[in-house]
């Protein structure tokens, strides 16, 4: 399997592997990090892994396809959306962390196990 990736020129599979690796890294970062910022970074990685996949699929599977004379750009558009979403999410998350910090003097997520104040 790895031999195929190394041997072949850059293609869809490479991007998919990259996406999978990024996803795995993001997921791992979310699972192991106690720092809220780290978790946010993990989330960004996961989102961007999806973006990579979206763009790669659009490039390799639908390349050259036309719809009414215009190239199909759905993957890219999705990716843009995800980026925007990620930015909004980061803003909200950072605001939450700021408050979190005010309450606990730390952004260690292990401390936020209770619902009270």
């Amino acid at each position: 399997m790895f031999v195929g990736i190394i041997d072949n020129p850059i293609g869809l599979n490479h991007f998919l592997v990259l996406g999978a690796l990024m996803f795995a890294c993001g997921l791992l970062s979310m699972m192991v990090k106690r720092n809220a910022i780290g978790i946010l970074m993990g989330v960004e990685l996961v989102l961007n892994a999806a973006n990579v996949n979206l763009v790669a699929f659009n490039r390799y599977l639908w390349a050259g396809d036309r719809a009414g004379g215009k190239p199909l750009m759905d993957g890219q558009v999705f990716a843009i959306f995800v980026i925007v979403l990620a930015a909004a999410e980061a803003a909200v998350a950072l605001a939450i962390f700021l408050n979190y910090y005010n309450n606990f003097s730390s952004i260690d997520v292990e401390r936020g196990q209770t619902l009270k104040g």
Binding site: L27, M30, M31, V32, K33, R34, I39, V109, E110, G112, Q113, T114, L115
Partner: protein
């Protein structure tokens, strides 16, 4: 001042004194409270005396003999609205009824009461409840005076009950003594029995007549004395012809005459029951035969109270009541009264012979004398009964106060066995007591002689009349029994005096310490004088009593005469034969009671001018009004049978005249040396048995104990058994059932209802616990879970896809 006003003041003074003493008595203390009470009752006596003087002067003004020309003063007012169904005018009435009898009773009651008060000042001076004693005495006098002045029988009943209450309070005055409080309760309960009879009689009267004012009762039922079997008395009512009201009619209409029984009426049987019912009240109060048991026990009260009860108030009330209802008694009711009186006087005199407590002897002598009075009422000797009531009041008050003086001197020792020879130590008491003994024994020139002989003479006339109309020999008992008992009376009273005052002292210590006290013997002397003079014609008691009868008749004649002229016609006045012997066959007479003491009027003809003068006065009073239609039937003053009866009575009455000689002589002989002769006689067995029987009061208490108390107890035991074994069992059973049922319901509640509720709650709780477990709040754990799920899901998806593809 008008007579009635004076008498009302006389009535209210003891009430005022009662109120003052109730609120301030304890603060006044001894002896001030007693002096205040005495002052008020003396004021009452003065008012009564003034009333008597005014009453006499009124008669003098009308130019007639004392009382004869007058008429009763009657004022009634509506009191309680009770509706037309119950009462004729819709109200219960109260008012005053003043005639010569009222005046005499007032004077006697207030005089005796005053003397008793004075005596009590000395006798009760060491008692710790001295003020309360005078409080009760005042209420007692007020009740008695209210009873005497009462204008309706209802009012009589009210004060009657008050008298009963006061006797209860006073008999139980020393309530620390168990025997005293028992005696008080006994007196009260026994009197209730009699009062029930009174209430029944009053109810019959009220229901039929709708009005119980004395005058209306006399007006419509005044003929009751001549009612025979099979007759009725028509009563006033809507629709009854006025001319018929108050007349005697046959119960079954005669041919060609209107049927009277369709109108409101009373039959002779109902009248008799009513009379006996009312008499039963008097049986209770005056302690006649079936209900006499309370009176000897009433000796537990202080001695002045005994004097008051026995002389002026309580027992006098019964005789007074019979005197007031006398005109409405049928011959049968009167016979009943005579028999009861006869039984009482015999029984009591016999028991008195064997008693050893000085007060018990006197108590039974009271019973016996009351029996004489009731006998007199029964045989129609109205004047005789009330005359004896007055004279007896004086000498019995004297006897009781005398015994009180003895008891006081003897440091509250009452047994005759402890006395003896006391005349040396307490000469005043001995002398006055002796006068009273002579009076009660019927010694000539003493008051008791006149009144008792009037009664016995009338009894003889009555028996003679009864024999003449073929009534049988039994009626002679009504003469011979009281005659023989007169001997017994003299004997036992002499015994009492001899054992107390004569002979040798039997208790040396007691004898040495005995002494007279002035405040005690001053009333005694006053009463002794009265005991002598009360019987004389000039003293006026019999003439006063006789004029009562004329006054009542005058009242009716005048009312009728006035009514005939202008005013609307009132119902026809019944011919008022009122206070007469009404034994058949003769319906009216005057003479048996006229010559009160034989010597005064030896011939009945002396009374002859009376009717003419009488008629003339009536004319005068009526303003020469023409006699209305259906004039009163003239009273036959010279009924031959009556005159013969009177003469025969006169012939027989001497038999009781020897009583005082033989009785007193025997008494002196037997008891000249204390109990020596008596004890010798008691060695003979039958005499001893009789003595024990009499000493035990003929076992009446035991008999009643078995019959009434025993039966009551048996019934209550039965009731208690029913309670325990029937009602309780049923109740307990139902209780158990209810408990079982509620246990069941409780279990249902606990295990089903509560179980469901709690189960739902605990289910929710455990669900919550279970769900909460994964909510750790740890983000990494969530992510891990998410990843695991995703991985598993992905793997499952791959497996599924492969299996499908594969």
């Amino acid at each position: 001042m008008p007579v009635a006003t004076l008498l009302i003041i006389a009535t209210l003074l003891p009430l005022v004194s009662f109120l003052i003493l109730v609120f301030l008595g304890r603060r006044m203390g001894s002896p001030l409270a007693g002096i205040v009470g005495t002052f008020f009752i003396a004021g009452s006596f003065v008012c009564s005396l003034a009333a008597m003087i005014v009453w006499l002067s009124m008669d003098t003004a009308s130019g007639t003999a004392p009382g004869a020309g007058g008429q009763p003063y009657i004022r009634l007012m509506d009191w309680l609205p009770v509706g037309k169904w119950f009462s004729n005018n819709g109200f219960l009435q109260i008012g005053v009824h003043v005639d010569s009898l009222t005046i005499v009773m007032f004077s006697m009651v207030t005089l005796v009461s005053t003397l008793v008060y004075v005596f009590s000042l000395g006798y009760m001076s060491e008692d710790k409840r001295f003020p309360r004693f005078f409080t009760y005495l005042s209420l007692f006098c007020f009740s008695m005076l209210g009873l005497v002045i009462g204008g309706t029988i209802l009012q009589l009943f009210i004060f009657w009950e008050l008298v009963g209450l006061c006797s209860y309070l006073l008999i139980g005055f020393w309530y620390e003594k168990k025997s005293a409080s028992n005696a008080a309760i006994k007196a009260f309960v026994v009197n209730r029995v009699g009062d029930l009879g009174f209430l029944i009689g009053l109810g019959i009267l009220f229901f039929n007549l709708g009005n119980v004012s004395l005058m209306d009762v006399y007006r419509y039922l005044g003929n009751a004395g001549s009612v025979e079997k099979g007759q009725i008395i028509v009563l006033p009512a809507d629709g009854t012809p006025a001319a018929l009201a108050g007349t005697i009619q046959p119960a079954i209409a005669e041919a060609g005459k209107p049927d009277a029984s369709k109108y409101n009426h009373m039959t002779v049987g109902l009248l008799t029951i009513m009379g006996i019912g009312l008499f039963f009240g008097a049986v209770g109060k005056s302690a006649q035969f079936p209900l006499h048991v309370w009176l000897p026990d009433a000796m537990e009260g202080p001695t002045p109270v005994s004097a008051l009860i026995h002389a002026a108030t309580m027992v006098a009330a019964g005789v007074y009541l019979v005197g007031r209802i006398f005109p409405i008694l049928t011959p049968d009711a009167k016979l009943f009264i005579a028999i009861i009186g006869c039984i009482t006087l015999t029984m009591a005199a016999l028991i008195a012979m064997a008693q050893t407590d000085i007060k018990k002897v006197l108590a039974y002598s009271t019973l016996s004398q009351l029996g004489y009075m009731m006998l007199a009422m029964g045989i129609g000797s109205w004047v005789g009964a009330l005359f004896h009531l007055i004279t007896h009041a004086f000498f019995k008050a004297l006897l009781f106060l005398g015994s009180g003086s003895v008891i006081h001197a003897a440091h509250h020792e009452q047994e005759l066995g402890q006395y003896g020879g006391l005349w040396r130590k307490i000469p005043y008491t001995a002398l006055t007591f002796g006068i009273a003994v002579l009076a009660i024994a019927g010694t000539p020139l003493m008051s008791g002689y006149y009144s008792k002989h009037l009664i016995v003479g009338n009894a003889a006339s009555f028996s003679w009349l009864a024999a003449k109309v073929g009534k049988g020999w039994g009626y002679w008992l009504l003469f011979w029994v009281p005659t023989i008992i007169a001997y017994v009376t003299a004997f036992y009273m002499t015994r009492c005096w001899m054992l107390t005052f004569a002979g040798k002292p039997r208790n040396k210590h007691l004898y040495d310490h005995a002494h007279d006290t002035p405040i005690l013997y001053i009333p005694l002397i006053a009463l002794a004088v009265l005991s002598i003079i009360a019987g004389y014609e000039w003293f006026g008691v019999p003439s006063f009593l006789r004029s009562t009868q004329k006054e009542t008749r005058n009242y009716f004649e005048r009312t009728r005469a006035v009514a005939g002229s202008e005013t609307p016609a009132p119902p026809l006045m019944a011919r008022f034969t009122g206070f007469d012997t009404s034994w058949q066959p003769a319906s009216a007479y005057e003479h048996e009671t006229e010559p009160a003491n034989g010597a005064a009027e030896s011939s009945p003809h002396a009374a002859r001018p009376e009717p003419e003068a009488h008629a003339a006065r009536t004319e005068l009073a009526a303003g020469h009004a023409p006699k209305p239609e259906g004039a009163l039937p003239e009273i036959k003053e010279e009924d031959p049978a009556r005159i013969a009866a009177f003469h025969n009575g006169e012939k027989l009455v001497h038999w009781s005249g020897y009583a005082f000689i033989i009785g007193i002589g025997l008494g002196v002989l037997v008891y000249w040396n204390g109990f020596a002769v008596a004890n010798a006689m008691l060695k003979i067995a039958p005499i001893r048995w009789i003595n024990i029987w009499l000493y035990r009061k003929m076992y009446f208490d035991e008999l009643y104990g078995v019959i009434f108390v025993g039966v009551t107890l048996a019934i209550s035991k039965l009731a208690s058994a029913i309670d325990t074994y029937v009602i309780d069992v049923a109740v307990n059973l139902s209780a158990k059932l209810v408990k079982r049922g509620s246990d069941l319901a409780g279990a249902h509640d606990t295990y089903i209802v509560d179980g469901a509720v709690n189960g739902a709650a605990s289910l929710a709780q455990s669900l919550g616990v279970a769900v909460r477990a994964p909510q750790t709040g740890r983000i990494r754990a969530y992510v891990l879970a998410l990843m695991v799920v995703v991985a598993v899901g992905l793997a499952a998806a791959i497996v599924v896809v492969l299996s499908v593809v594969g």
